[in-house]
């Protein structure tokens, strides 16, 4: 566009950005807007009624103002989802950080590092559903773990809390999502200038002090990105929580899925809007704490 007069705003950058903007508009912004609009619609057994009604939101928070009879369904469901989310986040961050630290600072050869890194992706070699189902013969009442525990006399009878419990849900999530933390944290760690570590050592810092004052601050962007992955994935999940929790543990994703299957699209849309708002809020807080753009 060199022919454009210099006093006008250049068109080329706009044109270059246009395809992506268009794709985002079409497949991201538009569906989101549609969801928001539908959440205000009314519905019957067999039809959606274009409308502006608060029904879906009112029904969602029905009984929430009355704390006397315990929490309302929606609050309880969010609490259950958030609790799982917090546990999964804590464990994946811990493990993800430890694995990355080992890979980045203890493994000397690049080849070995790559090999070990590929090993981390092993959980993704089978399908999601099969991976989850294969926990059953392991953790079940008559599974391998229980047979071992009873066989060695550690417990008198099979332990039921191993499966269809918070424990099994968190276990499955950690198994799945640790990689999502490992990758960005590893990336951040590899970019740390090794001279900083030497400087810390020269200045008399202990190993823990180096970790706390040098490594962790410099891997914060990786930690935040990993956390966003994990939080977004867990908050919206209904398959893993369903299968590993024996369908007995409430999650927002499950509620939305049930409503969808009963053609209650507007109610599901309202749930989705609230969930989206909450997740965005969490991400906003995290990015406020650490400016990812600057760190990257």
């Amino acid at each position: 566009m060199s022919s454009s007069p210099p006093d006008r705003r250049p068109v080329a950058p706009l044109l270059q950005a246009a395809p992506l903007a268009l794709v985002l508009l079409l497949f991201f912004v538009f569906p989101l807007l549609a969801t928001a609009v539908v959440s205000l619609w009314n519905y019957t057994e067999y039809s959606l009624v274009p409308d502006v009604t608060q029904r879906n939101y009112v029904e969602m928070f029905e009984g929430c103002s009355n704390m006397g009879e315990g929490l309302c369904t929606t609050f309880r469901t969010y609490l259950s989802t958030l609790r799982l989310c917090a546990m999964v986040w804590a464990f994946t961050t811990l493990f993800g950080f430890a694995i990355s630290y080992f890979l980045a600072f203890h493994v000397r050869s690049d080849t070995m590092r790559m090999v070990l890194f590929l090993v981390c992706t092993a959980p993704f070699l089978t399908s999601n559903v099969i991976r989850m189902i294969s926990w059953l013969p392991l953790l079940g009442r008559e599974g391998v773990v229980n047979q071992f525990l009873v066989g060695t006399g550690l417990v008198d009878q099979p332990q039921d809390w191993l499966l269809f419990s918070d424990f099994s849900v968190v276990l499955a999530f950690v198994h799945l999502y640790t990689l999502f933390v490992t990758v960005p944290v590893f990336n951040s760690m590899m970019r740390i200038d090794r001279r900083l570590l030497e400087a810390a050592q020269d200045a008399g810092a202990s190993g823990w002090q180096t970790l706390w004052h040098v490594v962790i601050p410099l891997t914060k962007p990786g930690l935040v990105i990993g956390s966003i992955f994990v939080i977004v994935l867990v908050m919206g999940d209904f398959v893993t929580i369903g299968v590993m929790g024996g369908q007995q543990i409430a999650s927002i994703g499950k509620v939305i899925q049930v409503q969808m299957s009963y053609l209650q699209f507007p109610a599901a849309a309202a749930q989705a809007v609230v969930l989206l708002g909450l997740v965005l809020l969490v991400i906003a807080v995290m990015t406020r704490l650490i400016d990812i753009r600057r760190e990257l």
Binding site: E45, Y46, G140, D160, V243, G246, Q248, A250, Y262
Partner: protein, 419 residues
């Protein structure tokens, strides 16, 4: 992501429901060229064997479009133009018919209409009234006019669906672990099986199984388990919530394979179950019984419907196909899977006597009963759980349903899961 509701019934039957091309030699009647019918339904009846036979006998190509049962309703309500034949369950009609997307089928064009099982035409088996709680087919089988959006009260010329398959569901148990006779739905909530029971996490079916248990325990007598009042929904969910908090349930299941795994691995010893799932557990060499209970069965039924937009040669072809379906071959095919077919007289002619005796008469198998692929389903000498057609369908207590208070029920169910 959406798991099919009736995946269970399908698993065993699923054929290659591909979109095979239609390069076929049509009989003279169809000299104008082959007709292709787009057949939307859960894959329960979408078997490659049926498709091939239809092509040979009628020169009609079936294009199977397998979807989940939620999607059957969604398609019929929102995209009726995307299909030529709808394979729906009777309870779905309460959602579909008000949309006005299905036509009333002309009984005069269905040759064997008078031969259709009395389950559908009169709500009777062997002259005896059967339970009609819930969306019993008799309540939704007829329309007052071709284009009606409400149901007729008696028999008319206009049919909503022509039945394909139906069956009676009950509890599955592990006789080796239970160790005593089980005779009542109340056992589902018996603390004796604490941590070893399960129900399905499909609200509209799960709540009916729960209602069977609540009624059997003597806690409440429902006017209609398939159409509860809000107070009844509250009561049922309260009983379920108490049981859940007391640790009665090991897990809930949503999908056929989950129910098989729970039972086969010994996680549960008593649970709601579908007939093919019981067969699947047994085929692993693990004892499992589809236990008849004194309060009766929860039944379901499916059938063919035609979208209102269908006309001309496609409409003729659809009627041809439905008439063919009732003429015996398909009925025998389905009876051999343990389902029941609409016109039993023609199906009987297409079955071996020993097959008929086992599946329909409840007699001991004179020889091994084989699945269509040749694997042995039941050994010689075994008897079908629950016995004969008359014994099983005659003991139906209620039907899968959509309640008037469905929205409320779904909310309460979500509350129960969160409890």
């Amino acid at each position: 992501m959406d798991k099919p509701i009736r995946a269970g019934r399908r698993q065993l039957l699923q054929g290659a429901a591909g979109l095979a091309a239609a390069g076929l030699a049509a009989p003279a009647v169809h000299a104008q060229g082959a007709v292709t019918l787009r057949y939307v339904g859960t894959a329960v009846n979408q078997h490659a064997g049926i498709k091939e036979k239809v092509r040979q006998d009628l020169g009609i190509t079936l294009e199977y479009i397998p979807v989940t049962s939620d999607d059957v309703v969604r398609r019929a309500v929102t995209q009726p133009n995307s299909l030529d034949i709808l394979d729906a369950e009777y309870w779905m009609l309460k959602k579909i018919i008000p949309s006005g997307n299905l036509m009333g089928m002309d009984a005069t064009r269905i040759k064997l209409v008078d031969e259709i099982s009395t389950v559908f035409t009169k709500g009777e088996v062997a002259g005896k009234k059967i339970g009609d709680q819930g969306t019993a087919p008799i309540k939704v089988s007829y329309l007052p006019a071709r284009d009606a959006k409400t149901f007729a009260t008696g028999q008319t010329q206009w049919l909503t669906l022509i039945p394909t398959t139906y069956n009676a569901d009950t509890l599955g148990i592990r006789p080796d672990r239970v160790g005593r006779p089980i005779e009542s739905w109340a056992e589902l909530l018996n603390p004796e099986f604490k941590g070893k029971a399960s129900i399905l996490n499909i609200p509209s079916i799960g709540i009916m199984d729960a209602a069977m248990a609540v009624e059997a325990m003597g806690r409440h007598k429902y006017a209609d388990k398939g159409n509860m009042t809000r107070a009844e929904i509250d009561l049922t969910m309260r009983v379920l919530t108490e049981a859940k908090r007391a640790g009665q349930f090991r897990a809930f299941w949503k999908d056929f394979n989950e129910s098989v795994n729970l039972m086969a691995s010994g996680e549960t010893v008593i649970q709601s179950m579908w007939s093919p799932a019981v067969t699947a557990v047994r085929s692993r060499g693990i004892p499992c019984t589809y236990q008849p209970l004194k309060e009766g069965y929860r039944a379901w039924a499916a059938g063919f419907g035609l979208p209102k937009t269908l006309s001309g040669r496609k409409l003729d072809a659809a009627y041809d196909f439905i008439n063919w379906f009732l003429s015996g071959w398909a009925g025998a095919f389905l009876n051999r899977q343990g389902y029941y077919s609409a016109v039993l007289s023609t199906a009987q002619k297409s079955m071996e006597a020993y097959e008929w005796d086992f599946w329909m008469m409840g007699k001991p198998a004179a020889q091994d009963i084989k699945a269509p692929d040749g694997t042995v389903m039941e050994k010689a000498g075994s008897v079908r759980d629950g016995g004969s057609f008359d014994a099983r369908m005659g003991a139906v207590a209620c039907w899968n349903a959509v309640m008037d208070e469905n929205d409320y029920m779904v909310r309460k169910w979500n509350e129960f899961i969160a409890a």
